[in-house]
Symmetry: D2
């Protein structure tokens, strides 16, 4: 190409390129794109990588903005460190998903880690992240402790015995009844994960959509209070309960491991376990359980759906 790579900076409403993100069937966000770095479809998902004025590089998978150069640290610190800090000495870590490499990057910052296995089904995405998203992985793929597998994580778990101190699930939302990711959100899958945890092991996951299943009465309202989106995260362990742990111990671990975090500190991390009353009420009222026979999925409006599969119904 002969042109310089700059378009005139301008406001929304001016001529130019935009990415439209659909938030609900009735609300959408327009992001002005300064430049499109890549767009297309891997075998598993649509992808868009583009530059924006305020957020820098932006990664979209399927229909959702996954993270941006300027604020991915908020998401990835919150996904990784609660689980890693809950465990007194995490040595072997499994990441399911996380193809852009930033989750791996945060895991590797814990100096006691000796192996980090990342399994993402989408080899094309991983290759693209390696080339186009250095701000995310920051070389994590080449760390000698890293091992990258591109295959179905559920299949791998079903056929391997290896165990881990921490498992991080970094998955996209199971939107749509045909979404294959649905099978990574069932009771049986969580059982598989537990079977691969060492004693005292901890699982952490982004779970905006899981909390959401508990909001069937008015899912959108709670998903987007005041039109604004919020994530949810989940921790699970047979042994440890960070929400009842002493923040002073968390602070001590952060210091001991030499973590210089940008978004989290011990006090703030522990405060995140407090949920609003309306959210607690909705969780208490929720009865849906996602299983292999009847996995849940999300509709376009964020509502959770579940239907017994034919085999189950006929079984």
């Amino acid at each position: 190409m002969t042109g310089s790579d700059e378009t005139t900076p301008a406001s929304t409403g001016e001529h130019g390129m935009y990415f439209l993100e659909k938030v609900t069937p009735a609300e959408s966000i327009q992001h002005r794109m300064e430049r499109v770095l890549a767009s297309g479809r891997t075998r598993f998902q649509d992808y868009f990588i583009f530059d924006t004025r305020y957020f820098g590089k932006t990664l979209v998978l399927d229909k959702d903005v996954q993270s941006t150069e300027k604020d991915e640290f908020v998401y990835h610190e919150t996904l990784v460190h609660p689980a890693m800090l809950t465990h007194p000495d995490p040595k072997d870590v499994l990441i399911v998903g996380g193809g852009e490499g930033a989750t791996l990057r945060e895991v590797l910052r814990h100096p006691g880690v000796r192996s980090a296995l990342m399994i993402d089904i989408d080899d094309q995405l991983v290759e693209m992240a390696r080339e186009l998203l250095p701000e995310w992985h920051q070389g994590a793929f080449d760390d000698p402790r890293s091992e990258i597998l591109c295959e179905d994580a559920r299949g791998w778990l079903e056929t391997h015995e290896r165990k881990f101190d921490v498992v991080i699930l970094d998955l996209t939302d199971p939107v749509g009844e045909d979404n294959p990711a649905r099978m990574l959100f069932t009771r049986e899958f969580y059982g598989l994960v537990r079977d691969h945890l060492n004693p005292g092991g901890v699982m952490g996951m982004q779970a905006g959509m899981v909390l959401l299943t508990h909001h069937r009465a008015h899912p959108i309202v709670n998903r987007i209070p005041g039109f604004f989106l919020n994530f949810g995260f989940l921790l699970a362990s047979d042994e440890h309960d960070l929400s009842r742990a002493d923040p002073a111990e968390t602070a001590r671990r952060i210091e001991q491991r030499g973590l210089t975090l940008r978004h989290l500190d011990a006090e703030y991390l522990h405060s995140r376990f407090a949920l609003s009353k309306d959210l607690k009420d909705a969780l208490a009222a929720e009865t849906m359980v996602s299983s292999d026979a009847a996995p849940f999925w999300l509709g376009e409006d964020g509502a959770a759906h579940q239907r017994a599969s034919r085999e189950a119904a006929e079984g």
Copy 2:
């Protein structure tokens, strides 16, 4: 009109009416409008009231969505109750702004309140809220304890001696250098508010934009982590510090006053005082002080601006 008042429900992208909300110069949100109830301009501001599929009635003043029928409780509970609960026995309350009446409604739920004075400069807005926004005020304007004045609150404070136990500032953002609301965000104005507090009095305010002034380095990033918006709220008192109070005492007061809240409980309320590390870092680095001589205002991108006024510069 002869038509029934229904348009076909449909998704964004389908033909129909939309409200475009500008979030930054490079990001905007499209809200599908099922029906427009009112639009126009009072002497002070643009207004739009419309119906949406998921959020019900939506109120826009100038360029920002203020609140919606379905989730205004999150905003108004968070604005009002921390200040009211910080005070052991609030009897006389002043609300500056709050024209739609929901702040007044929440104040009046505290049974010890004997007078609630609301001063909003925009009589046309108050009249419209009375007629079109019953879901917000729920009759609060007609409560015998309510007194509504439509005039400049700063002028009123400068010429009256009356004192209050709690003052709630419920103001729109001072966007634009010419915004008259700028004079309600200066050191001198806060001094005026203090002068009208009884001993032990408490001030509460929505302060998303005030926190924002402390983020000049990267205001948008912190205002909208991950493209998502968050509010900030401020409490001030010479005597009480809710952030260091015992949550059990807060819980006791909630019960004692018979408050049935939807969003807040004591534990969650107290957890809100924890700020993320990046926000605390930004606050610590902030040096801007807004004064009558050099009031700050917000640019379209959310950045704080300040310029010494001519008189001040020449004085």
Copy 3:
């Protein structure tokens, strides 16, 4: 309402209200609305009436902009006068559709007209036009020569013997397989119209969509050359052929009838019969005939569809 009825004039991209018109599944137009005068649904169609900065009042029925205050004269002159001028002395005129009253207005400008019967199925639309669209009808509904019926025009034609010198079909596009208007675009319906013409009678119609049926190979391209839309109009008569008539005679009739037209003159009118080569080629290749048994309809992309009805197929 207490507010003045003005919002701040501003550009697209600024906060405010927009109407989104869908042109193809991949192209849409955003119209900034200064004010919404009415929106809703009659028994038959969605409607939107709003003010715009450059085009004044705008009328939308179902999903299409029908006409605007500033340029409706282009459409209505072109729909009405070719047929009226083709006939040497039109006395009795039938209008099918045309609820907003501008077609009637143009018909009545021919001084020889003694009766103008307008049949529009949508009484709510007619009532709304009478109240909110005076710029369109300009009092035509109250002309003593006017007669307005609100019922199904096909049913009326099937049960009445009355004959006319000119019939104008002013219908919305039959978009969608379920569109009842489909039955006003079949061979049988045109036969009905012919049966109601006096000897030498003339039919005129807006036929963008009819021409379109002849463009199945690449309908969108021809519908929207260069992304721009164009209308088509059709004239039919057993006796007269305006396309072969002498423009001087047309000019004479315009003068004789005292018509002061804004868009048409004789020369320009006659030039409109010339069609581009690609359009003529497409018309020549077209074989679809719409019938009651297999009426055609338009898809969202403007392509013509036809399917034999079950009864027909089974008959």
Copy 4:
């Protein structure tokens, strides 16, 4: 890149990439982009090349869609052939602008042409067209009769004596007071062009914006009747007047030169000289003359502006 180059086809309103074209300050068009082939800025203009579902590749320069793969033939046939057919035997042709090569392609289809000189100031655009827009140029750049210069056409004309039988001006609109293209729309520039015509020479140009200058009373209305855009084209010659020529002679020339046109035939071409009454009225009322001392330019709303330059005013 590792991904296949396909995104899921979907409707406007669905998540994905869009190009926003601004038509007036109050109306804009959203074009869904299936894939972005190039975007950036040359030394002279912004450019965007992207794929669309219905129109194929689309070229945008600065803020306007210039042409699309599927319908560029309509524009380029109409720009080139009227001038070429007006001349009985065009041998030497000059094209000013026309960087994408389609105008050159149409010129070269006249077998009598022995030289075609194209002068486009933007070498980066020409290079990009050569690589990315083969559907436009179809090899015309490599025709032995073609000569391509990338420099300022006005400067070239001022310093060269070479004469031509036909000159085609294929320029973008002079939008904005600073637009350098303004100096290619002045009386003096047209004088320069005339000086470079052989006796009997013909100039043809796209002149949507020139006609537009004659519509100051309500430019938008006439530019976009019914919200729809239309082009204008101009022919000028000291000797020939195609509008009064015999269509049969035009048809003879088309046949003689072996031109197989897709959009034009003689009858249709001649019918294009008829202008609507409102346009003729506006042209008759127009008094603005663009000169080097006071060149006109177009505002965002399509209105023509003119201001005497300082030197002129002071001269």
